[in-house]
């Protein structure tokens, strides 16, 4: 088994952390995993992305040309990566920041108003967790409970007060995706 997930958005949207929590979860499940960011000298506020690969054997490339799974958090990312997803793959899209519909029909596109949901929960910053929750519907290797456990295990103690809202965000995303699908 090997699954590759691309996550892309603006800097500040929690792109990197969204990837890391998936990576932590995979690690805690004793799977192989790699997380790799794009890094550049771009000005703050530019785009950011990372790729997570989870597998049950030694991982070769930490990058793939055509990822089967993607979380796209804003319009520029959607524009850039929609064409690149593996046919038959899945994209979770933050519909709150993407004001157009899909072009491709050979992939499954899950539009979630993630920013809106996060604001509803009370913290805009949880938008990334909402989309992670949504992605989990298509990533049976990681259960939502596993992700919660890993959040708890790896979030520094002083941030544990944020756990409930993070859990909620995951759940809301998951449910939204289920509804959508």
């Amino acid at each position: 088994m090997q699954k590759e997930i691309l996550i892309a958005g603006f800097g500040g949207q929690g792109v990197l952390f969204a990837g890391q929590i998936l990576a932590y979860t995979a690690m805690d499940l004793k799977m192989e995993v790699t997380w790799i960011p794009s890094y550049g000298p771009e000005m703050r506020g530019g785009t950011a992305n990372c790729t997570v690969v989870i597998a049950d054997e030694e991982i070769g490339s930490p990058l793939v040309e055509v990822p089967p799974l993607a979380i796209l958090l804003n319009l520029p990312s959607y524009d850039k990566y929609e064409p690149m997803i593996l046919p038959g793959g899945v994209a979770v899209i933050n519909a709150s920041l993407v004001d157009r519909g899909p072009v491709r029909t050979d992939i499954q596109q899950i539009f979630i108003p993630a920013s809106k949901i996060a604001e509803e929960i009370g913290d805009k910053k949880l938008m990334n967790m909402v989309t992670v929750g949504a992605l989990l519907t298509k990533l049976p290797e990681l259960k939502i409970g596993d992700v919660k456990n890993s959040l708890k295990a790896h979030l520094p103690e002083r941030h544990h007060k944020l756990l409930p809202s993070n859990y909620l965000a995951l759940e809301r995303g998951y449910v939204a995706a289920m509804e959508y699908a």
């Binding site: 990576a23 995993v33 790699t34 790799i36 960011p37 070769g60 793939v64 040309e65 790896h154």
Partner: protein, 372 residues
């Protein structure tokens, strides 16, 4: 110890600490700055020496000084910074003191960019500095390897009084993977008979460390001695990782990130029953030339994959010696190939089959130019 999800740069820095690093001197440069930043925090905490030097030139000469005292010392940088260190590296080599250098390579030449690259291979392996010397060059492909090789680098540096490079690329430096850090080793100051620490309470005879041999015949002897050490290293320390070699008919050779990207591609072929194998050199210097030479005899084709214009390629060509056709696929300038790219190239090799390629680099270039 349990595994942690850890970034390559941080992992190397922490591994060095646990291996007993006593002093670090460096200068910020992307994509290795986290090494320096991690050590900026940790070293003073542990009462060990950390200096952000005024430049890479100064950094390597600080390393040189500390190395002469026989403590574990290192610096880290990325391509342009490493170029600035060439004089100092040559001095360290010529003085036969142990030192470790981490190069997290980026795209060049010149200022280039900060993306992952492997185009400082020749500089590391053949000595970008003047004179004959031979660094040990370790090329990690994963965070765990980055850790293990960093630890190893200190052991080897001391064992052979030799310069050791950890030759990583931006991808290894920036990637996070679950990895296990070693236990913290106590800092031990070995009682070397060459270390410069002042004559001491018992007033032992004075010691000098220098790279000067003003009489060429003396320098020649020093050169031969160093080369002899090098052959001992070659004898004892060659490391590589092999994948599916037992029955392979085609061989892919790649180190570091290019090697692991190639692994993904090789697996695809294996899944389809095509007998492709992979040799991933871990010591690119000394280069695993004997195994490669042996393998070459039975291969229908060999594909070298690098994130450069083909540098390790030279070592492969020497080792293979026209026993089988060698092909090349490179992505220079900071581009990391995708497994899909390598798959295409393996396919091409299989199709072209046993034709000897006179100049694999030129053949690749022509194809690459045709695409742009």
């Amino acid at each position: 110890m349990a595994k942690e999800l850890i970034k390559g740069n941080v992992a190397m820095a922490e591994a060095a600490i646990r291996a007993g690093l006593e002093a670090y001197f460096g200068y910020p440069i992307t994509p290795q700055t986290e090494v320096l930043e991690h050590l900026a925090k940790r070293m003073p905490e542990l009462g060990r020496a950390f200096v952000q030097a005024e430049s890479e030139v100064a950094a390597i000469n600080m390393v040189y000084g500390a190395a002469c005292t026989g403590v574990r010392v290192m610096t880290s940088s990325s391509s342009p910074g490493v170029s600035l260190m060439q004089e100092g590296l040559s001095y360290i080599a010529g003085t036969e003191v142990p030192a470790v250098m981490i190069n997290v390579m980026r795209g060049g030449p010149g200022l280039g960019n900060i993306a992952p690259a492997q185009s400082d291979y020749h500089q590391a392996v053949r000595g970008g500095g003047h004179g004959d010397y031979h660094p040990i060059v370790l090329a990690p492909a994963s965070v765990q390897e980055a850790i293990d090789l960093t630890v190893l680098s200190f052991d080897l540096a001391e064992k052979y009084r030799n310069l050791v490079f950890v030759l990583a690329d931006g991808s290894v430096g920036q990637m996070m993977e679950p990895a296990e850090l070693p236990e913290m080793r106590p800092v031990v100051r070995q009682d070397y008979d060459w270390a410069i620490r002042g004559r001491g309470e018992n007033s032992r005879p004075k010691r000098i460390l220098t790279s000067i041999y003003i009489n060429p015949l003396d320098e020649e002897i020093a050169n031969l001695r160093m080369l002899n050490t090098w052959y001992q290293i070659k004898q004892n320390e060659i490391r590589f990782k092999e994948y599916y070699l037992d029955d392979a008919e085609y061989l892919v050779v790649g180190f570091g990130t290019a090697g692991r990207v190639a692994l993904s591609a090789v697996r695809k072929f294996r899944a389809n029953g095509v007998k492709v194998g992979l040799l991933r050199p871990i010591t690119v210097s000394p280069f695993p030339d004997e195994i490669l030479s042996l393998l070459a005899g039975r291969m229908k084709g060999i594909l070298v994959v690098e994130m450069s214009q083909g540098q390790m390629l030279d070592d492969v060509l020497i080792a293979v010696g026209r026993q089988s056709p060698v092909h090349f696929y490179g992505r220079p300038g900071g581009v990391v190939p995708f497994p899909e790219d390598v798959e295409r190239e393996i396919n091409r090799m299989i199709v072209s089959d046993s034709k000897l390629v006179t100049d694999p680099r030129k053949a690749w270039l022509d194809r690459a130019l045709a695409k742009i």
